[in-house]
Amino acid sequence: MTFVPPEIAVEARNIVKRFDGDVAVDGIDLSISRGSIFGILGPNGAGKTTTLRMLLGIIDPDEGERFLLGSPDPISRAHKVGYLPEERGLYQSMKAYDAIAFMGALRGLPLAEGRERGRQMMEDHGLGDAADKQIRQLSKGMAQTVQLLGTIVHEPELIILDEPFSGLDALNQGKLERLIRAQADKGVTVIFSTHVIAHAERLCEEIAIVAHGKIPFMGKVSTARDRLRPQVHLETRNLDGPWRSAIPAECQPLGHNWHFTLPESGVEPLLRALIEGDAGIQSLSIERPGLHDAFVSIAGEAVAKKMEEDAARDQTEEAA
């Protein structure tokens, strides 16, 4: 009998998935704490959706084990889980509030209660007038909101969102971020996949970076950033002097500007050397690396570039 600690919402142990011989997910390990907001970062085709589908029990892994809310049979926990798939889908002839109720009913919420909650949730999200409209009569953004509300109508303990920001305009992306935070504030575990680093950086306490079906990094966002040294941007009046020994020898100026990685000794020795060595400091900034820099460092330049292209394509499609 495999034991999963109760504070763990989702755990995967060396899960593998192959499609027609091609490895889509190659021995992934995951452990996601209850009540956290967890981001799965990676470009399209990295294996994010396949991983989520295995965690949810939509498909079985070829190898390895996964546990959802402590159970190796994810479907048995379905009534405590909300899921928004990457490819959105609703019955077109259903009324909006009924679609929310139906999604709740699938996960055990009585239909009448689901209808009541559906109407109220639509009201709360400024869509009260659309509650009685058929899905086919709603705009794309409204339909996506309806589906999102259907994902949480039964008040799940765990919410899994696959590329939830995809296809949303900036306004709705902001709304979604607020909704995710509100759910987390209630103690709900939220897991979402994205190829937009900014969302993960703003929302997540922990992330997993997925590339080529593997997870090269999983942990706190701050830990990912801390893998890189802070960057120093310095502008000096003098170009030479005893202070030069305090900065890396290979660092060359661009005019009077210097960019280099903060030495291991830290900020204070550097400052002291610059001042005592008469560098003539015009400006000095020390920047902590962003998640993007950490991502590039962990997953590699090519993967990061692909993810940026995916995000750009998303924006183009949204604009279209």
């Binding site: 949810l56 498909i59 892994p61 049979d73 479907i75 798939p85 490819e87 889908g89 259903m94």
Partner: protein, 402 residues
């Protein structure tokens, strides 16, 4: 299992209401009207044409005495055989009964003649096409014999009994065949609709939400029972309209032969066996249809599926007169033909226990087919793992979860 049933109910309720409250359901209900109207029109037309073609006129080229005698004989025979039982006779005045070229007269008469009777009553000769001669030779002989005997028509006294052994057997066979035809027609019309039942979910990507929320068996079961419910609503409407129409048109229901188990039980068994036939074929079609990605693929699949249905029907229909023979047992045991074979048994055999066994047998196969369909769907469409290999076939079949 409890969760599977609950989830299946959620799916069934959604599908059932979506179908019943759609405008296309009205068209579905009106569906049988079109073949009915065509059948009525075609049979009316056919009857009229048949009456026109089949009203034979025989020209009589006999001498005066023989002509009068044969015309009188016809009147006598009409008393018992009816107007359509004996061909119409018209006298051909001025034609020599022994004319060797009497065939020429066929086209000369005022009305089109089927054949000409010439010679004498003792040695009558019929001239016409080979087909007409073969058809009317006997009747003309009967007319000649009656004319020669100059007898009066005999009135046969009728004494009807409620039933005879052979009549009961024959009548029950008619009920068995009728029951089978109704059952197969309804199943053929309705079960094929299940083929395209998962296309909407796959096209709209809803299948992903369903698959993450409930066991896959529940999706299949729910869809199947929703379609069965829709079919039963349709059949109820058609049966009610048919009953009312028949009652109004004929001032009462026709006096139908009683099946071996009696009409009330037979009707219940009809409903049960229709349900089982529907579920059996429907689960198979749902499984096949689930593999199709588009409506076009479903259309391509529908032809071999219809042929398969016909094969099942032929087996059941062939076995209806062969109670207890190997072929009939095969029809009873093969799950897809079993409901049709069993309804034929209900019409001809009065023991009821066999129906309980058959229904359990058919229900068991329905569940097995659903399980196989789910496994195929998960492996081929959802691209899910090798759970059959890992768990073993029996464990997979019994694990009624996903």
């Amino acid at each position: 299992m409890k969760e599977t049933i609950r989830a299946a109910f959620v799916i069934a309720r959604r599908d059932f209401t979506a179908i019943i409250f759609s405008k296309s359901f009205i068209i579905f209900l009106a569906g049988p009207l079109f073949p009915l109207i065509i059948a009525i029109a075609a049979s009316g037309l056919g009857k009229q044409v048949n009456e026109d073609i089949d009203r034979p006129i025989i020209g009589v080229a006999l001498d005066a005495a023989d002509s009068a005698a044969i015309l009188a004989a016809r009147e006598k025979l009409v008393t018992n055989l009816g107007e359509n039982g004996v061909p119409e006779l018209i006298r051909l005045d001025g034609v020599d009964p022994n004319d060797p070229d009497i065939a020429d007269q066929l086209d000369k008469a005022a009305r089109p003649l089927t054949a000409i009777l010439s010679g004498s009553l003792e040695t009558p000769r019929l001239t016409g096409s080979a087909r007409d001669i073969q058809r009317w030779q006997g009747r003309m002989a009967l007319l000649s014999e009656t004319a020669l005997s100059r007898s009066e028509p005999v009135q046969v006294q009728a004494q009807a009994v409620a039933s005879t052994g052979s009549a009961t057997k024959r009548n029950r066979l008619v009920v068995a065949q009728g029951g089978q035809v109704i059952l197969i027609l309804l199943t053929m019309i309705l079960a094929g609709m299940v083929l395209s039942n998962l296309v909407e979910e796959k096209t709209n990507k809803i299948i992903e939400i369903l698959a993450a929320a409930i066991p896959m068996d529940a999706i299949f079961l729910g869809k199947l029972f929703a379609m069965l419910g829709m079919a039963i609503v349709g059949i109820t409407v058609w049966a009610t309209l048919g009953f009312v129409g028949l009652t109004l048109a004929t001032s009462g229901l026709p006096n139908l032969p009683v099946p071996a188990v009696g009409w009330p039980i037979f009707c219940v068994l009809m409903i049960l066996y229709f349900s089982m036939a529907y579920l059996l074929l429907g689960s198979l079609f749902l499984g096949i249809g689930a593999m199709a990605a588009t409506v076009r693929e479903v259309q391509t699949l529908s032809m071999p599926v219809t042929m398969g249905q016909l094969l099942v029907f032929f087996l059941a229909a062939f076995s209806v007169t062969k109670l207890g023979e190997p072929v009939e047992w095969a029809a009873v045991l093969i799950p897809f033909s079993s409901p049709f074979a069993m309804i034929a048994r209900a019409a001809q055999m009065d023991n009821l226990w066999q129906h309980g066994v058959a229904l359990v047998w058919q229900a068991m196969f329905t569940l097995i087919i659903i399980r196989f369909s789910v496994i195929l769907f998960r492996r081929n469409v959802m691209k899910s793992g090798n759970s059959v290999v890992k768990k073993g076939l029996l464990a997979t079949l019994l694990a009624f979860k996903r």
